[in-house]
Each structure stands twice: as structure tokens, then as C-alpha cells.
């Protein structure tokens, strides 16, 4: 199927610029189109598999609104995928944009950092920064071989929303 491609961001609304304070008449009402990128995560080793790049590249100054995984083959007990980019370290001091629980079948949203303190990365959800971010992932799993977990990572974002306040 052909695709219609824009450099973006895509905005829509009947009033593009505010010139007064009366809604429906002269106050801008444009919103951003929500964008989505997806990638299949694979579990290839029981613990600490090498980090793997996804095809997901988030444009600069975007706002991440949702991350979710659709697990179609469970990673097993304590099977987690740590979603990162190249600026984030691995190992015991690792930081992540999100830690996705892939231990059971189904769709799971990333909700919060309860018990995991990566608050500095949380601000990247508000504004991903001045450069594009190429996402990668690292699987932490306690499942037994053959380690055949599969999940679809879903990243939803607003391109160049630039929430710098």
C-alpha cells in the first residue's frame, strides 16, 4: 500500500493562532497527531542478553505518551525488557526509558517506576531532547531455555511537542 509521508509534526484544528481570549472565535485549538512506532522484541538468552537495536527512532524534542508491550510468547518468570537508547548505560547501574514486564501473554502498559529509581530518565518522557533517539533493548529474564519470548513493543509519541518548561 502506498503511504503518505510528512516531515511533520502533523497538526490539526480550525484556529491556528490565538488573537484573543474567546474560545471558538480567536483562541488556537490545534492539536498534534499522535505517532506510533512498533518493533518486535526477542528473548535470545536467559539473562543479560546483549543489547539489541530496534528500528524505532524518536524525533528530537518529542513527548512520549505511552509505551506498551503485546507479549505473544512469554519471556517467563521475571522476564523484563529494559528499553534504552545509546546514551543509557547497561549493567547494574543501568538506566532506562521504561522497564516492560514480558513475563506473561497479553498487552501491558508501562505504568510507573515503582521500586525503580530512574527519575532523570522520566523527564525524557516529557521531552526526549535535542537529538533523535534510537531505541534499543536489553532482556533480563529468569526463564529457562530455550528463551523464545516474543513481544511487540509499542511506542506512542507527539513529534516535536517541545515541552521544555
Amino acid at each position: 500500500m502506498p503511504t503518505t509521508t510528512f516531515s511533520g509534526p502533523v497538526k490539526a484544528g480550525g484556529i491556528s493562532t490565538s488573537t484573543g481570549t474567546t474560545l471558538s472565535e480567536n483562541v488556537a485549538n490545534q492539536g498534534f497527531g499522535k505517532m506510533v512506532q512498533v518493533y518486535e522484541l526477542e528473548e535470545t538468552a536467559a539473562t543479560r542478553a546483549a543489547r539489541t537495536y530496534t528500528d524505532i527512532v524518536i524525533p528530537a524534542n518529542s513527548q512520549i505518551t505511552r509505551m506498551a508491550v503485546l507479549v505473544t510468547s512469554a519471556f517467563g518468570t521475571d522476564g523484563y525488557a529494559y528499553i534504552k537508547d545509546s546514551t543509557m548505560s547497561g549493567g547494574t547501574s543501568d538506566t532506562s526509558l521504561a522497564v516492560m514486564n514480558c513475563s506473561s501473554l497479553g498487552l501491558t502498559d508501562f505504568v510507573n517506576y515503582a521500586g525503580i529509581v530512574y527519575e532523570a530518565q522520566f523527564l525524557l518522557w516529557k521531552d526526549t531532547g535535542a537529538s533523535d533517539r534510537h531505541l534499543d533493548y536489553e532482556v533480563r529474564a529468569a526463564s529457562a531455555t530455550p528463551d523464545t519470548g516474543r513481544a511487540t513493543l509499542i511506542v506512542e509519541y507527539v513529534q516535536n511537542n517541545n515541552l521544555t518548561e
Binding site: 490539526a12 480550525g14 492539536g31 497527531g33 513527548q63 505511552r66 507527539v158
Partner: protein
């Protein structure tokens, strides 16, 4: 950065898509609405926190829209609940809990509004999710999103995000 701007609503699909209804082959549209998003940083205080003035109305949802998701990215925990409402006209007319009542933001992370945050709305207010301009005059007018904390406390910080489909124009079926 360049932008692609439309008056909207943005719909994507084709007009003459083939499909089957039971075993009968047909031709028809398969268009869908683009999901739109507006966001604003908010902080906790004992008053209207967003917008702080009529010239600060940056989250304005076009008339007749369907709200599909409201969330708050909590970057500093709150110790008071948050109400999310709508204003119309020139901001003076508003319902501070037109959409969400008593949202708890005590945990860092993405808090998504759920049934427990909307089952205590005033009568018929839930219809504002289906059609944002259906329960207060002027009907069919744009609505500015408002954020309200009834009392002070710690300095909670977050990003309020409202997702919607523009001008779907659903009628109340409840």
C-alpha cells in the same frame, strides 16, 4: 522545524475499499480519524493551575470531539487530588471537574484516568468524553482544558495530556 497543518479533522483511508458483509461483496469507505494530542505542564497549588489566565489557554479541544484518553506524567508526586475540567466562552465559565474528579497522583509515572476517576462525576458529565461540547452552552463550541487542585500542599509536578478525535460529533446514547 517545518509543520504540516490542517484545519481537520484528519481522516485516513480510501473511499472505495472492498469488503464483505456476510457473503455479499461490497465497496465502501474505510476511513479512520487521526488521534490528536494536546499537553501542558502543571504544578500543584490551591487554585486553578491550568490555565492561569485567559491568555494562557494552550490546551483547547475543538468542538464536537471525542476524548479517548487523559493521563498525567507525574515527575514529582502530589499530595492532593487533581480535578480536570473544561471552560468555555472566555474562561470565566467553567466546570472544574467536567471530565475527571479526584485523580490521585501520589506515584511517579504515567497515571491514566480510569473508571474510578470518572464514576463520581456530576450527572451527565461523563458525556463530555463522548462529545466534549455536549453538556454546557454554548453547545458545539471549543473547550479549554482546566486543571484544579482544591488545596495546597507539596509541590507536585506533572504533564497533563489529553488525547482526542477531532469533530467526530457523536450524539448522546446514554
Amino acid at each position: 522545524m517545518s509543520r504540516s497543518t490542517f484545519s481537520g479533522p484528519v481522516q485516513v483511508g480510501i473511499d472505495d475499499a472492498p469488503f464483505s458483509e456476510n457473503t455479499v461483496a461490497k465497496i465502501g469507505p474505510n476511513r479512520g480519524f487521526a488521534k490528536m494530542v494536546q499537553s501542558a505542564p502543571i504544578t500543584q497549588s490551591g487554585t486553578i493551575r491550568y490555565p492561569t489566565s485567559a491568555t494562557d489557554m494552550t490546551m483547547v479541544i475543538p468542538a464536537l470531539s471525542t476524548i479517548t484518553r487523559i493521563s498525567v506524567l507525574v515527575t514529582t508526586a502530589w499530595d492532593q487530588v487533581l480535578d480536570i475540567g473544561q471552560a468555555w466562552g472566555e474562561l470565566g465559565d467553567r466546570d472544574t471537574n467536567d471530565l475527571v474528579n479526584d485523580l490521585v497522583l501520589t506515584t511517579l509515572g504515567v497515571v491514566v484516568v480510569g473508571p474510578g476517576d470518572t464514576d463520581n462525576l456530576a450527572t451527565d458529565d461523563i458525556n463530555n468524553w463522548m462529545n466534549n461540547s455536549s453538556t454546557n452552552s454554548p453547545y458545539g463550541g471549543d473547550r479549554c482544558i482546566t486543571a484544579f487542585t482544591a488545596s495546597g500542599g507539596s509541590a507536585g509536578v506533572g504533564v497533563l495530556t489529553v488525547e482526542y478525535s477531532q469533530a467526530v460529533d457523536l450524539e448522546a446514547i446514554a
